[in-house]
């Protein structure tokens, strides 16, 4: 009669006991799965992981974008910068130490970010086993809707991008070139440039919602800060997108060669 399942006796949120005289089998499961106990099983903690890893990646991207702009000062300056990253801290630490630290932190961020995104995605799918016949959006923005697919494309982009410009494996100019040559080679190729442009626009959208969302996930938004947080999201997203697009487009249109 009461919707008590066998589970309720093991779980402290069960709806009391059934007494022998009245116990009847129930039709519906009262509860699917006892609460998990691990810290990282909480959907809120997962979101915080996304936010922190996202912010780390944003900080890297800001530095990365500034570095990229060196392309405007010519090949030497750009290659020098590329060399510098590899030699920071020398001679106190061996060559590439700092670079590898950065790489590891970034890798960890991407993995954590991806894990959390995937796991929330899976949870969301369990949470709506039957789809609506008709469902409309009321306020949901384009940016918030493209987060998942956008994120996936960004992941593909990163893989391509490293194979292209860092390793050179997929670069038209090949692996044994200077970074600057690889850069020019890639963006002189229209399909590759287009892929970059699309990815950057998606990244912009991702960040436009992501920055606000990260603040919300970390519990830092409120009615008073609403406007400033939103403004920050727009500005950072726009500056990063524009800053990153500048180099490929300039090369594609022959402003840099």
């Amino acid at each position: 009669m009461s919707r008590v399942t066998s589970r309720s006796s093991v779980c402290h949120v069960g709806r009391g006991r059934t007494f022998a005289a009245v116990a009847t089998v129930t039709q519906q499961p009262a509860q699917r799965g006892a609460p998990n106990t691990g810290r990282f099983s909480s959907s809120v903690v997962k979101k915080a992981v996304m936010a922190v890893s996202g912010i780390i990646m944003i900080l890297y991207l800001i530095a990365h974008m500034i570095g990229n702009l060196k392309a405007f000062s010519g090949a030497e300056s750009f290659n020098e910068y590329s060399g510098w990253i590899r030699t920071i801290g020398e001679p106190a630490v061996p060559t590439q130490t700092v670079l590898w630290i950065i790489r590891l932190v970034l890798l960890a961020s991407v993995v954590a970010h991806f894990w959390a995104a995937y796991s929330l995605w899976a949870q969301a799918r369990r949470a709506r086993p039957v789809a609506y016949v008709t469902k409309k959006r009321v306020q949901q923005s384009f940016a918030s809707r493209t987060l998942r697919w956008g994120g996936t494309i960004i992941l593909l982009f990163i893989i391509w991008h490293i194979l292209d410009l860092t390793v050179g494996a997929v670069n038209p100019a090949g692996g044994d070139t200077t970074p600057y040559e690889r850069l020019i080679a890639s963006f002189s190729n229209i399909p590759i440039t287009l892929f970059y442009v699309v990815s950057m626009l998606l990244l912009g959208l991702h960040l436009r919602h992501g920055i606000w969302s990260a603040m919300q996930s970390l519990g830092q938004t409120n009615r008073r800060r609403e406007r400033s947080v939103n403004a920050l999201a727009y500005v950072v997203a726009t500056v990063l997108t524009a800053g990153f697009l500048l180099v490929p487009l300039s090369i594609a249109f022959g402003l840099i060669d």
């Binding site: 009669m1 009461s2 709806r15 005289a21 009245v22 039709q27």
Partner: protein
Amino acid sequence: MPLDLFTVGEPIADTKAPADVPLPERWNERKFRARLVNPANRRKLSVIVVGTGLAGGSAAATLGEAGYRVKSFWFQDSPRRAHSVAAQGGINAAKNYRNDGDSVHRLFYDTVKGGDFRSRESNSYRLAEVSANIIDQAVAQGVPFAREYGGLLDNRSFGGAQVSRTFYARGQTGQQLLYGAYQALERQIGLGNVETFPRTEMLDLIIVDGRARGIVARDLITGEISSHFADAVVLASGGYGNVFYLSTNAKGSNATAIWRAHKRGAYFANPCYTQIHPTCIPVAGDYQSKLTLMSESLRNDGRVWVPKERGDSRDPRQIPEDERDYFLERKYPAFGNLVPRDIASRQAKNVCDEGRGVGPNGLGVYLDFTDAMQRLGRPAIEAKYGNLFDMYAQITGEDPYETGMRIYPAVHYTMGGLWVDYDLQSNIPGMFVIGEANFSDQGANRLGASALMQGLADGYFVLPNTLANYLADGPFEKVDATHPAAVEAQQAIKDQTAKLLSINGTRTVASFHRELGKLMWDLCGMDRSEESLRKALDRIPELKQEFWTNVKVSGEQGTFNQNLEHAGRVADFIELAELMCVDALHRNESCGGHFRAESQTPEGEALRDDENYAYVAAWEYTPDGAPPVLHREALEYEYIHLAQRSYK
């Protein structure tokens, strides 16, 4: 009175109140004399609580905390949907935070006077006494009452009182108080002290060896009918205003639990005392399924008026001051718009009967905020009443900030209910009745903001003490579903359900309910006369007969079947309606919410007959259509002088 309608039985007395000690000490004395149950034994004692409103929710939580094994039943999907959630205006308490001369004694006095001297002194006093604890309790639970800038609780005034003793949470006081009780209840559920039966409707009471020992209930999802047992049964199933079909009660509010208990022997007291609330949104059309209350608190700032001229159909804003009749202020200068509900309602009806009503069908009066808006400014009005104004706009499609509101009286609350003694125990040992379901504290009329107070007083503070006194005799002999009493009760319910489903006539349940409601409103509503009541008593048996031969109930028993639920409730309403009319007819006086056209003062106010009717009418059910038996409980007033009520 003609004896064909009822017979007179032995008078009864409430013997539990310690009448030998002065009024202010009675409750303490009762608690002291009551036996206790030692905590270790409480685990062995079980209690069924039907209802999770303010009364049932607070009782189940408190009993669970105390260590009893509680089984909680309700018909909605969640306990927090009990109709208490809809209470808007506020809750009274004798805190005297305003330093305006309030006291326990004054609240007691106002309650007895407001109830038109038809309530028990001992009960009303106790209610006033524990009222202050309720506020403490609710605040400790985190109920966000309205506060002032200094951080202390705010108060407002309510009908029938000249002091500000009403605590409120915007226009959602009932919601917030209920959530407090609900959360306490959920805590006990989480701890395993309370077993729950959601969407389960009580359909009968099981009596074993003269004691209430269980209930028969239907699982509304599976349709399964089963029996449940305990050492005591508490009914907290709310009021029966839906007899009138259109009322401010929720669609599911019903009399089934108390009516079926009545049929098992519990006395039903003062069934004719119904409260008509003056400020509701007028009816818009035939399809109307319920009426919406606009909180009484609106009368704090709104002024009630109609045009002086009959049939004046101008836009209210075009009617100049001197062509308006602020009839409550005119007739009752001392209380003005804050006269008690029965008076405000009847006066509104009178002006409409004179042809001065407003709105599409002439059944409405204006509740105007122009003055208050000028005095306080729109933001202040929004802060106080915003949600009510929104609700009004939503329902009527008119903007009350611009044009004020149109209001009309509607059935709202039932002061009658199962008879209980000072311990809140019915005449069936082991069956306790609390909240609106009992009759005890409000007399013939309830003051605004006193029902929440009563429900919580009963559930948090009174019942847990008096129930222990009863349970001290337990645990009682174990009973299970094979006991003949249970088998019989369960079979009777199965038969009744099967019967309802088999009639397969031509009229829907709703059409019967609508017809009953209209009949009761017209003939046993705001004013009643011997003639109208006799007419009703002729018609109701016919309606009952037609119901049982021509109703069409769809679906099957073993499924989720809302039509079947409704059918059972309407069957009970029809029977209850008949008793209400008998009670109204027998009480040949006017008092509070019961206004007999034959009994009024020259100014048209209710005229009591204390000589003949200063008693509680407790009705005993007799099977096979025999007339009910009247048991009188005499009301004695030692501390309050019986007087004609005056709010001039």
